[in-house]
């Protein structure tokens, strides 16, 4: 079984074939400045780096714009004071456009579903008001019952004939 720290000398493969000791990653120290650009590679290298730079710049600009749109800076708010002539011109423009609106159905304020008290403008004010006293309620009920009873006793008292002959000779 192997161990991390072996005292035996390192034996590299003489054939160049991969074995258990072959480096998987390049040596970071020795491989840093080994990129040699041949004259034929200059054009491709330059265009790829320019493309990379422009991509980076685009990404940076996008980040900058996103940050600027998300930042809250109340002190830096620019208040654009409308000049009188600009105000008048805009009002005129809007009026003209309003008059050229194609006739469309104005939404009907009547709702289709059943609504109780929809014609009462301040229903909540009436419903939340103090209720009438119990004495008043009893008075109303008894008075109404008396009225109904009195109405039921109304009858016609027939005393004379309905048809009366005039004394014309």
């Amino acid at each position: 079984m192997g161990c991390c720290c072996s005292t035996e000398p390192e034996t590299l493969s003489q054939d160049g074939e991969a074995n258990e000791r072959t480096r998987l990653l390049n040596d970071p120290v020795s491989s840093t400045y080994q990129v040699t650009a041949s004259p034929s590679d200059y054009g491709n290298h330059y265009s790829s780096s320019a493309t990379k730079k422009s991509d980076e710049q685009t990404a940076l600009n996008r980040i900058l714009q996103q940050t600027a749109s998300n930042i809250i800076d109340v002190g830096a708010l620019e208040y654009h004071t409308l000049e009188q002539h600009e105000y008048i011109e805009r009002v005129r423009t809007y009026n003209q456009r309003l008059n050229t609106v194609p006739p469309q159905k104005i939404p009907n304020r009547a709702h289709h579903e059943a609504q109780l008290l929809c014609d009462v403008s301040a229903a909540e004010r009436i419903l939340s008001a103090q209720p009438i006293s119990f004495a008043d309620f009893n008075l109303m009920m008894s008075s109404a019952q008396k009225v109904v009873a009195a109405l039921s006793h109304i009858k016609v008292d027939h005393k004379e004939d309905l048809v009366v002959p005039f004394g014309i000779p």
């Binding site: 809007y94 609106v101 304020r109 301040a122």
Partner: protein
């Protein structure tokens, strides 16, 4: 057509108690449609008052809670409810004793009208 829209707004204003005025403007406060009673405060209908809501709603939308839809401002004598219908802004002015929930519920009826006015304003 403009007259019918004004009539619709007028009916809406009269049917809701304590509402003094309804103004539909662009984001700079320039009025598109306006109905107001005699008791409506004139200062609350000026562009420099209404345009402050446009700035405030933009900034409020960056607080991480989503887009800002409405703002309620209650003063000593009046209350003002702003609706964000950008590129338009709707301002409802009422007395300070008005039912604020009822004012905010006018959103549905106002939205139906505002949807027909989108072409009036340059975005």
């Amino acid at each position: 057509m403009a007259e019918e829209m004004k009539k619709y707004l007028h009916d809406l204003m009269n049917s809701t108690e304590d509402v003094l005025g309804i103004i539909i403007t662009d984001r700079d406060g320039v009025p598109i449609l306006k109905v107001a009673g005699e008791e409506a405060p004139e200062l609350a209908m000026r562009p420099n008052f209404i345009s402050t809501f446009s700035m405030a709603t933009d900034q409020a939308g960056k607080l991480g809670m989503g887009k800002n839809h409405k703002m309620v401002c209650v003063y000593g004598n009046y209350q003002v409810v702003h609706f964000n219908k950008l590129p338009m802004v709707v301002t409802v002015i009422a007395t300070n004793t008005a039912n604020t929930g009822l004012l905010m519920d006018m959103d549905k009826e106002i939205s139906a009208l505002v949807s027909q006015l989108t072409h009036v304003v340059d975005i």
